[in-house]
Amino acid sequence: MNPPAKLIFTISLILGTTITISSNHWIMAWAGLEINTLAILPMISKSHHPRSIEAATKYFLTQAAASALVLFSSMTNAWHTGQWDITQLSHPTSSLILTSAIAMKLGLVPFHFWFPEVLQGSPLLTGLLLSTIMKLPPMTLLYMTSPSLNPTLLTFLAILSAAIGGWMGLNQTQIRKIMAFSSISHLGWMAIIIVYNPKLTLLNFYLYTMMTATVFLTLNSIKVHKLSTLMTAWTKIPSLNAMLLLTLLSLAGLPPLTGFLPKWLIIQELTKQEMIPAATLMALLSLLSLFFYLRLAYCTTITLPPHTTNHMKQWRTGKPTNFLIAVLATMSM
């Protein structure tokens, strides 16, 4: 893409995120969300492929609707309470509508339908941005309004997200769609605890961001998009292969890796809040996502595809591994 264009879009992304995070007034938050939406659209449709264009269109429609709902909820709240403070969202209807809007922005079930297709249509690095940076402003809004949110709705959305994320991910062969459903399932974990202990939500989000970033960057450096391609990726950068296995297992939440920490703390907090059936359900449903993470790990590392020669590494040397990957990987294990 044209370098100046790329610069503008990147700066707009940073600007939009910063505005939303640091805002106190609903209109500012809304403005930041809109800037983010508009900035990422060209990045999704960078390759002008019909699938990318369709992904961009879907993304725009959904996000626009969601932003409108955010504005609507804040206006309703202003009408009833007379103020535009983000932390003072006291009207119940407003909080419901806001929860739905944020769910649409994030990709919580049943508002998640756009996410897999958008992620599939975008290049890997843009997908990384969609999964991590684009979730930060909505997550912040949720964090700031957390005292006045409806716990029942959030629990319901969360359990559904874990379930759908798990079951849908089982039927995919495209890695980006798998990552989309993994994202949905992790969002479920984040959503369930936000009413009781919002700091755990943030912890979960940060750790998730780190691990997903590792995975996306690794996939970008070995240039794989599907499971069958993943099988032969071990020849390109063998050490990265081993690291990818551990990162995937960390995403799955296996102790003693890092990804276990948020799950453990969330279950503990839920148990303290007497929500034992919910905790049990979440734990069981995360087994489903464990299966497709294991499948990814299996295709990457545990199994060898039929190959002819005995060589361990491709003869052509790729570029050396990104420093960022190394750092993130180390931190995510």
């Binding site: 609707a65 929860t99 739905s100 339908f113 079951w167």
Partner: protein
């Protein structure tokens, strides 16, 4: 003179004499058994055993000998004791007489067999086991004899073990006997726990005995004495050589079950349920066996079914609470049944192995001694007045008719008596009379005294045994002396009707028309459909059921479907259901969003 000492001495001497052919070859290398030595040993034992019997008849002496006491646990001692009372003292000479005759016959019958000495040793083992059973005073020693006769029966039936039917028949015998053994062990266990003894003397109880041990005893008798339900092994046991059939499956082994019931009779005395069960079971067995014998064509099978029918009659007598009469019938039955088998063996050997009576005929002129004795045996079997069978059989029928009992049992027994006459006359007519149906160049002869003298000896016994035994033994229960004339004549009338019917039907059969099939004749020919039903149906069901449980229930269901694979299938179902929702159409997505928001808002109002 101390008669009990003499009694004990001579009985022990009898047993020791019998065991010499077994012990002497172990002690000296030069001594080799031959069939003749074994035959002479049994003859000597018979002669010696006459002395204790005479002592008992003369003075009424009975004796109980304790050989050794096995101190099993503190409270339960098992004495190895022998009881020499009326039953054992009378049965010893009879069993030894019959065995001597059979062994003498077997020296001719099995002369061409390379392992004839082993055959005779087996028969000797069997005889020893049987005598231990008879002389036992407690159920433990009786059980030793019981198992012994069972094993020897197995070995002897499968003597010609190259023949598959012989092996199957031997297995059948062992399995059916085993089922009966369960009953005996049940009774022994109950007695050990309730009465703390297995001794016969201590067996009576003042109040009504519980039915459970008696059921066990009846089960044991059903197995060993081929009552209905556990009867198929007896006709199948005819696969063994004729001496085996004569000794085991007519005179001695099959009466062991009835003998057990006679010995434990004090327990049965007061339990009317058990007695009625014996009565009905015996009546059913006797009728069923007689029905099956009507259409048999193998001479040995006819005699086998006749044995089965007489065993049913003995069971009926037990059910009438008349053990002594049952014992009398056992004794007289031994003579003529053994003789019938020996005659049939002689005929079979002379006809070069032909056992089908449709291929015999007119043998009266060609084998006079054998066929005369066959006639005497058949007449004794039918209960002809004043032959051996009359004294026991007629008394049984009289007691049956004058007792207060189940009419159905009475009718069945009478019907079976007439059937006895029918098949006996049929056999006689087809074998001995009429036109000759054998191949022309059959060199049959009775020249060997090893054939004729046992048969004539047993014929003498068949004629006189009933008279002799009843003359010298005073019955403990008074037989019914007065009854209406019709009741007195019942047995004779029924038998005569059977004879007339048989003669009439055989006249029809000699016109060489094809026999029409009817359900009755089919029932009789296929032995009551019992064998295919029990041997195939229940076995295949249980084996199939077992296989289904092992492979379908455990392997497939529990390990796969209920566990991992079932779970995986459920997840697949869920995945497929949800995948169809993600259609890719933005319109449906936006519709879902709208619907969800509406639902969320509605739910709070």
């Amino acid at each position: 003179m101390d008669l009990s000492l003499a009694l004990n001495t001579f009985m022990i001497l009898t047993l020791v004499t019998l065991s010499t052919p077994i012990l002497l070859p172990l002690l000296s290398h030069n001594f080799k058994n031959t069939p003749d030595t074994i035959t002479n040993t049994v003859k000597t034992s018979f002669l010696i055993s006459l002395i204790p019997m005479t002592i008992h008849i003369y003075s009424g002496t009975e004796s109980l000998t304790l050989l050794w006491e096995w101190k099993f646990i503190m409270n339960f001692k098992i004495p190895i004791s022998l009881k020499m009372d009326f039953y054992s003292l009378t049965f010893f000479p009879i069993a030894l007489f019959v065995s001597w005759s059979i062994l003498q016959f077997a020296t001719w019958y099995m002369a061409s067999d390379p392992h004839i000495t082993k055959f005779f040793t087996y028969l000797l083992f069997f005889l020893m086991a049987m005598l231990i059973l008879i002389i036992a005073n407690n159920l433990f020693v009786l059980f030793i004899g019981w198992e012994g006769v069972g094993i020897m029966s197995f070995l002897l039936i499968s003597w010609w073990h190259g023949r598959a039917e012989a092996n199957t028949a031997a297995l059948q015998a062992v399995l059916y006997n085993r089922v009966g053994d369960v009953g005996l062990i049940l009774c022994m266990a109950w007695l050990a726990s309730a009465m703390n003894t297995w001794e016969i003397q201590q067996l009576s109880s003042p109040t009504q005995t519980p039915t459970l041990p008696l059921l066990g005893l009846i089960l044991a008798a059903t197995g060993k004495s081929a009552q209905f339900g556990l009867h198929p092994w007896l006709p199948a046991a005819m696969e063994g050589p004729t001496p085996v059939s004569a000794l085991l499956h007519s005179s001695t082994m099959v009466v062991a079950g009835i003998f057990l019931l006679i010995r434990t009779h004090p327990l049965f005395n007061n339990n009317q349920t058990a007695l009625t069960l014996c009565l009905c079971l015996g009546a059913l067995s006797t009728l069923f066996a007689a029905t099956c014998a009507l259409t048999q064509n193998d001479i040995k099978k006819i005699i086998a079914f006749s044995t089965s029918s007489q065993l049913g009659l003995m069971m009926v007598t037990i059910g009438l609470n008349l053990p002594e009469l049952a014992f009398l019938h056992i004794s007289t039955h031994a003579f003529f049944k053994a003789m019938l088998f020996l005659c049939s063996g002689s005929i079979i050997h002379s006809l070069n192995g032909e056992q089908d009576i449709r291929k015999m005929g007119g043998l009266q002129k060609m084998m006079p001694t054998t066929t005369s004795c066959l006639t005497i045996g058949n007449l004794a079997l039918m209960g002809t007045p004043f032959l051996a069978g009359f004294y026991s059989k007629d008394q049984i029928i009289e007691s049956l008719s004058t007792s207060y009992l189940n009419t159905w049992a009475l009718l069945m027994t009478l019907l079976a008596t007439s059937f006895t006459a029918v098949y006996t006359i049929r056999m006689t007519v087809l074998v001995q009379t009429g036109f000759v149906r054998i191949p022309s160049l059959t060199p049959m002869n009775e020249n060997n005294p090893a054939v004729t003298s046992p048969i004539t000896r047993l014929a003498l016994g068949s004629i006189t045994a009933g008279f002799l035994i009843t003359s010298f033994i005073i019955p403990t229960k008074t037989p019914t002396m007065t009854m209406p004339l019709q009741i007195k004549m019942t047995a004779l009338v029924v038998t005569a009707l059977g004879i007339i019917l048989a003669l009439e039907i055989s006249k029809m059969a000699q016109t060489l028309l094809l026999t029409k099939q009817s359900s009755f004749s089919n029932f009789s020919t296929s032995l009551g459909y019992f064998n295919p039903l029990t041997h195939r149906l229940t076995m295949s069901n249980s084996l199939n059921g077992g296989q289904n449980i092992a492979s379908h229930l455990i392997d497939l269901s529990w390990y796969k479907i209920m566990g991992p694979e079932g779970l995986a299938n459920l997840q697949l179902m869920a995945t497929k259901a949800f995948t169809s929702l993600h259609s890719g159409l933005i319109k449906s997505y936006l519709g879902a969003f709208a619907l969800s928001i509406i639902i969320i808002l509605m739910s709070t109002y």
